[in-house]
Symmetry: C2
Subunit: 338 residues, 2 copies
């Protein structure tokens, strides 16, 4: 039974390991600083399909296939999956997994989905409902832009605080067999809404949720940033990440040395003209599976706090003048090489 | 640790009980056969708010308040909630719970959300991540119609197979203290898609998922319909329910005597001109909390299988010619009066 050490933080009793991980990324992500690390670069926004939505489905399937291959198991050996995405009614996830007889938990956490789905998969193992469970998510620049903002053909001018939706998918497989990366614990966050109404500044809207969960998790586990090799948020981008570091410092927590944000790692913002950085469920999913897990496996990282953050508004709620509720979820990864 | 008896079915090891339950329903639901059973009837589709979306938020909050009152606890005593709804980006749930410091798991299971969220809340207790957890969901005729079909003002003619989205919200609170209703076990379903493309016939699209999970659960637990006082599906309506009973019979399972569907219970289809019956997350949530749980508590029901079913398409995926993936989740409720 998991051990709770506070309102949010818990440690799993079982030894839950990352059995496999996989990803796929789009052309712009392939041209970024992490381009050489992805399992595959897909240059075509349509992946050869009729619609970009079908392309996103295909990317999820590819990421999961890569994860299953690394884990050395077939899809039918999964006992449970947790998945979600940004599209209305989470269609990418439902369609990518509809030809399977594996119990499916549909999640909506916006860009927090990679941490959320991984926690749900781990929870199912801890509770005894699964022995092997998968988590996956995706985002796609074309499908997200036209749903949340404007059709690509419109060619709208982007605001400086805007982030670019990452075209990518990522998947992890969890089980109890000894592997080099252990999922030691984590925390489900609560919804934070400090009144930001500018949907072009998602990093600013999400920063309070990330900050709050980092501070609570450190306090509840009696640890400090120095105890971790990396504290990584999902897609706060330039503005959100600066807010987190600043406000953490005001709370006596120094994040200057080992804090990073996936939205700032995935693109070269200047050369690629990416404004405040990357966003989307696929951003943290791709960085986790292409960059973080391999570095833990090779031993260059040992203790990692990985948070994905999500903005829970809809285009309709923004048009109705509502502010943007945000959430973060956290997983604690530990390198355990022999 | 939960005991799995097959691919889908599991029984909780802990004694997890329904500590409280609550609901609220709209005017048409109040005029239906169950009208006298709801905690409150809200005659105004706007609940006195500026938008129907805000009204749906208010209904979720009211259902949760009623559940907390019955459980005799405050919202801050919750360790975790699982919630979701039908609206894009699940805004009803995120906005209804944004002013809280309780860990939040956002779910998307379409109309399967009541069973899904209840299972997630129970899973968190079984895994030791929560002692007291809540699950809630809602649907609203006005918000759903305009998102999935047409604005109400359009006055579109409905097809005979169409179901009416129920305006209602329901909530349950789970804990380990002895109460008259125990959540003995359940099953997360897998996605089933048999190729139905008619989004006016959601019952037909969802029936295979419900049928499959009922048959699998009975087989995996070595039980038969006679072992239950009630097997209740969420919102299959007239067409879906008939399919389930027919196909179950062809599989040697007789559902004629104790099977019912929430979508057929909530309205008087003839008098209220409700075509194939009710649908929406709020349908099974309201029937569970207004009708099923009270009857288990008073002793007229003892063993109940409650399934919510969801159709996981979006208006966009239907316009793109995709068929409708569907899912069901199941909870097994047991009356345990002293």
């Amino acid at each position: 039974m998991a051990k709770k050490t506070g309102r949010y933080a818990f440690a799993f009793e079982k030894n839950i390991y990352i059995a496999g991980y996989g990803n796929i990324a789009g052309k712009k992500e392939g041209q970024g600083p992490l381009g050489g690390l992805f399992d595959r670069i897909e240059p075509d926004l349509y992946c050869g399909r009729k619609t970009m939505e079908q392309a996103e489905v295909r990317m999820q399937q590819t990421a999961l296939e890569n994860a299953l291959r690394r884990a050395g198991i077939g899809r039918e050996e999964l006992d449970l999956v947790g998945a979600g995405d940004l599209l209305n009614q989470c269609i990418s996830s439902a369609y990518s997994f509809r030809d399977s007889d594996v119990p499916y938990i549909g999640l909506y956490g916006a860009c927090s989905t990679m941490a959320l789905s991984t926690l749900i998969a781990a929870l199912s193992i801890e509770a005894g409902v699964a022995k092997t469970a998968a988590a996956f998510t995706s985002s796609h620049f074309g499908t997200a832009e036209r749903q949340y903002r404007f059709p690509l053909e419109y060619g709208g001018q982007r605001q400086p605080a805007a982030q670019h939706t990452v075209t990518a998918a990522g998947a992890v497989i969890l089980h109890e067999k000894k592997s080099p990366v252990r999922l030691a614990g984590g925390a489900f966050g609560s919804i934070q809404d400090l009144g930001v109404t500018d949907s072009s500044n998602m990093g600013g809207a999400m920063a309070p949720a990330a900050l709050r969960l980092i501070l609570d998790y450190l306090r509840e586990t009696a640890t400090s940033p120095a105890d971790y090799d990396l504290i990584l948020t999902g897609d706060l981008g330039a503005i959100g990440a600066e807010i987190v570091v600043d406000l953490a410092a005001r709370n006596g927590v120094n994040l200057h040395s080992n804090y990073q944000d996936c939205g700032l790692l995935i693109y070269d913002r200047q050369k690629q003209d990416m404004h405040a950085g990357g966003s989307g469920c696929g951003c943290s999913a791709a960085v986790l599976t292409a960059c973080v897990l391999p570095r833990i496996i090779e031993g260059t990282l040992k203790e990692v706090l990985f948070l994905s953050t999500g903005a829970l508004m809809s285009p309709l709620s923004v048009m109705q003048g509502e502010s943007i509720p945000a959430i973060a979820h956290l997983i604690h990864l530990k390198g355990e090489r022999e």
